[in-house]
């Protein structure tokens, strides 16, 4: 058992981990230095500027056991797409379809990832990121060789079923030049179960690669999700990151993109539907390192009950990154008097020939629109629901995978906005 609040506990527990590839020199080296990093920073607290709005007291007051491989004991919805299933952070071969030369598990492809492992991570990672590098035992690896297109949609489902468990997974999407893929990553758990899911996805997009990445979080209402999507983009690479948080007690996502080659474009879409005591903290960062890159961020939040959302969106335009075009939007809708939204957009600009803008709003539904709907004979409750859905739908519309878009529409319109499904 790891006592989360004691940093030494995380360090000593590392010795117990019998990991595959433990005898691989480069990996051991990385793990060792990550552990040293963790020793220095520990788990973050509200005194850290990047965590000032996210209190981890509940997470830290728990003990966690490292997980071992087990088989799936819940039923997943049918899908026509190839699907990988990870149970408590370990690949469940039997439940998975779609494994191929290009789609493997981390355990089986250590030699492929050597050059890329941790290459996209921030220079000063926080405690959870360091722990992820130190502990990561499995995850999916998509490796596309130059010119290769991964047909259709690859789904990866991470199921957390053991209580009081902690899993650290590391995924890599290595898309060489002129490749294309769409990956839908889901995180699911059973409500009522407490666990800690620490998951990082690295995306290394080569010249003109197109990567469409979805991260849909439907964690247990008592679960902690510490996630990261770290992206490096070469010349002309187009990456879209979609980050949809529907449940989980405390969720933190760091979505970073480094635009390293000219003509690269990143799109970051985010949607938070907060209920109960849910707390969602999204930290995005776009690093414009070279000229002629564009970025487009669109994060929306709907907060009900006691839920709370934190958004930090940082855009850095380096000295030489002229002709940058960066846009960021963050809109928050508060539905309850106990909900709270904190947002912190940041622009750091060191070049002069750039177009950068950000906008942030916090507010309620437009009373004029509500009145209009009511004047057309729609009752107040439905009018509210319709407008709330319309607000969220602006992010959903940006989803390119039909099945995912329909599914989210159903979930958000039906379950969350009670009975709107007939209308949409």
């Amino acid at each position: 058992m790891i006592t989360a609040n004691e940093n030494t506990s995380w360090i000593t527990a590392h010795a117990d981990v019998a990991l595959s590839g433990a005898n691989i020199a480069w990996l051991n080296q990385q793990r060792k230095s990550a552990l040293t990093q963790f020793e220095a920073v520990g788990l973050p607290g509200v005194r850290d500027e990047d965590w000032r709005y996210t209190n981890l007291r509940a997470l830290k007051s728990n003990d966690y056991a490292l997980t071992s491989a087990s088989s799936l004991n819940i039923e997943l919805a049918d899908t026509t797409n190839p699907r990988l299933v990870f149970v408590d952070g370990h690949l469940d071969q039997a439940a998975s379809t779609g494994l191929s030369d290009s789609v493997t598990s981390l355990k089986d492809s250590l030699e492929i990832v050597e050059a890329h492992f941790s290459s996209t991570l921030p220079k000063k990672p926080h405690g959870f990121t360091a722990l992820n590098t130190a502990y990561a035992h499995d995850g999916y690896v998509v490796h596309l060789k130059s010119g290769q297109v991964l047909e259709g949609v690859l789904e990866v489902v991470f199921v957390s079923q053991s209580a009081d468990a902690v899993s650290h997974t590391r995924n890599l999407i290595i898309a060489d030049a002129n490749t294309q893929c769409t990956i839908v990553e889901r995180h699911v758990g059973t409500h009522g179960t407490v666990y800690l899911n620490n998951v990082i996805t690295e995306v290394v997009a080569g010249d003109n690669a197109h990567v469409d990445h979805y991260k849909i979080q439907q964690e247990s209402n008592d679960a902690f999700h510490m996630g990261g999507v770290f992206i490096n983009q070469a010349k002309g690479a187009h990456v879209k990151s979609h980050n949809i948080a529907l449940s989980g007690l405390v969720t933190r996502n760091d979505i970073h993109s480094n635009l390293l080659g000219q003509g690269a474009h990143v799109e970051m879409n985010g949607l938070v539907i907060g209920q109960g005591r849910q707390h969602v903290d999204n930290h995005t960062e776009v690093n414009h390192a070279v000229p002629n890159c564009t970025s487009d961020e669109y994060y929306k939040t709907v907060l009900d009950d006691h839920s709370r959302s934190v958004f930090r969106g940082r855009i850095i335009v380096a000295k030489d990154a002229q002709l940058t075009n960066a846009d960021q939007q963050n809109n928050n809708l508060l539905l309850s008097k106990d909900a709270e939204a904190d947002c912190k957009p940041q622009l750091e600009i060191y070049a002069d020939d750039v177009k950068c803008s950000h906008g942030a709003t916090v507010g309620q539904l437009d009373p004029v629109s509500l009145f209009y709907l009511k004047s057309r004979g729609i009752d107040a409750k439905s009018a509210n629901a319709l407008l709330t859905f319309a607000f969220a739908n602006e992010v959903i519309e940006r989803i390119n995978v039909d099945s995912v878009r329909q599914e989210l529409t159903q979930i958000i319109a039906g379950e969350l906005l009670s009975g709107l499904e007939e209308l949409v």
Binding site: E340, A341, P345, Q346, E348, I349, S357, H358, Q364
Partner: protein, 486 residues
């Protein structure tokens, strides 16, 4: 016209026009300055010198003791060598300063200094309806129009005199908005402040004229720590303006001021600053470190506090004029133009804390960066749980001139009430060649065209300044921007 030609032209322009800091002279005047260093003894001496009541000394010592325990803040987006607080002299006053009753008794050299700065100390010569309190190094040298003001019941005097004449008011309000432990520089100020202005507007009085304080650092190696306290009683109105300059020196000098405003029910305070401390030379040598805490409390219902600032000077500006909107329907406003040129750095913005119901705040911030300047907007809008129907609009625009400068925005929004309505917008851009071209083909020279565009960019803020000062600010901006075209 193609871009390269334009750039070539700019280079010539840059060579042609060098920016001059015309307020950079030193007045040779005998002064009574403490030796550098800071301990409890120095504070006792300041307090004794000012003949202060006992509570004031205790207040200072308490602040000093908490200051000793505080770490120097490092979160701002600014870069400067560590300040040695023991190498600063904490008190400096022009010598031979008996009680002044008429202008004749003021040292002619001082009058000359203020004349050079364009401060109309001589009442008869005054064109504007402005009462001036001039603070030279650490002490207030002359307050004009006192009689006219006292007829209206307005108290406008140096805070050191107010301590003698109205100790009960000082005791009641000093530190009530910015407590001694508020932050590192506020604590230091509370311990060592030597003078500043005190304004009290009684119930229902509309101050008959603009009030103004002029701050001047003259002595070498001194720090200036002034304290301003403005109280507007129920239904009162006052507009207050401060201006600042300092001689041109190679070493950095510290300026750490605290301004506290209290607006009671239905009162309104308008506080404008034109800050033109010496910014250092083009290599970043010298200049004033400006670490200032300004905060206004909208204590009563329907009260209003409005901050307007034009920040063109100082090597480093660290300043966040804030409003605590405690009363229902109270209003807070912040209008700012901050210019950084050469190696200047500014980290400035505001805090709007909404506590009362139906409170509203507006933030308009315009940052201009040129040369190697770095300009940061940092602001907080906080809506507390009980602040129903709070409204905020923020706009932070940055204009970049040149490829070596930086513009940054760090707004924070914390909302705990669903009826709140917040909007934040920020843009960063440069002067577009289209705009320049258009103005030039209308017959304007390049400098004039740039100046016109910049003025248009700042219009929303200048509009808020009292008229004479708006003109002044516009000129100041022009001078400060000379040689920055590009």
């Amino acid at each position: 016209m193609s871009a390269p030609i334009l750039n070539e032209k700019n280079k010539d322009l840059k060579k042609l026009v060098k920016r001059e800091y015309k307020e950079g002279f030193v007045t040779d005047i005998e002064s009574d300055t403490f030796e550098p260093g800071l301990d409890e003894d120095v504070i006792r001496r300041i307090s004794a010198k000012k003949n202060e009541p006992e509570f004031m000394l205790e207040y200072r010592l308490k602040a000093f003791r908490s200051w000793l325990k505080m770490p120097e803040p490092s979160w701002a987006h600014i870069d400067y060598p560590k300040i040695d607080f023991q190498s600063i002299a904490y008190f400096s006053a022009p010598k031979e300063m008996p009680q002044l009753d008429s202008l004749d008794q003021v040292d002619p050299k001082l009058l000359e200094t203020y004349a050079k700065l364009g401060i109309p100390l001589e009442e008869q010569k005054m064109m504007n309806n402005v009462a001036v309190d001039a603070v030279f190094d650490s002490v207030s040298v002359r307050t004009t129009f006192r009689e006219t003001l006292s007829k209206a019941g307005v108290i406008f005097m140096p805070i050191s005199e107010a301590l003698q004449e109205h100790p009960e008011l000082i005791k009641q309000y000093l530190g009530s908005v910015v407590p001694t432990k508020d932050n590192y520089y506020a604590a230091l100020n509370a311990a060592v402040f030597s003078d500043g202005s005190f304004v009290y507007i009684p119930k229902g009085v509309r101050c008959p004229m603009e009030l103004s304080t002029y701050f001047r650092i003259n002595e070498m190696n001194t720090g200036q720590f002034e304290r301003t306290l403005i109280i507007a009683e129920e239904g009162a109105y006052v507009s207050y303006l401060e201006g600042c300059t300092a001689p041109q020196r190679d070493e950095n000098q510290l300026h750490a001021a605290v301004v506290e405003l209290v607006a009671h029910k239905d009162a309104e305070i308008k506080y404008s600053t034109v800050q033109n401390w010496y910014p250092g030379d083009e290599n970043g040598k010298g200049g004033i470190y400006n670490f200032v805490t300004k905060r206004g409390l909208c204590k009563g219902d329907n009260s209003k506090i409005s901050w307007t600032q034009v920040e063109t000077g100082s090597a480093i500006t660290w300043k966040y004029p804030s409003c605590v909107l405690q009363g229902d329907n109270s209003v807070g406003e912040f209008y700012s133009v901050a210019l950084t040129h050469n190696k200047q750095q500014a980290d400035t913005g505001t805090k709007m804390i909404h506590m009362g119901k139906n409170t509203s705040s507006t933030i308009i911030s315009k940052g201009i960066s040129a040369g190697h300047g770095h300009n940061t907007y940092r602001g907080l809008v906080k809506i507390l749980k009980g602040a129903d129907n709070a409204r905020n609009f923020s706009q932070c625009d940055s204009l970049l001139m040149g490829d070596q400068c930086g513009a940054h925005t760090f707004p924070y929004m914390e909302v705990q009430n669903p009826t709140a309505n917040l909007e934040h917008e920020a843009t960063t851009s440069k002067i577009s060649e289209d705009q320049l071209f258009y103005l030039k083909q209308r017959g304007l020279g390049e400098e004039a065209a740039v100046s016109m565009i910049v003025n248009g960019f700042c219009k929303d803020v200048f509009r808020e300044l009292p008229m004479e000062f708006a003109v002044e600010a516009q000129k100041l901006l022009e001078v400060s921007l000379e040689g920055a075209v590009g």
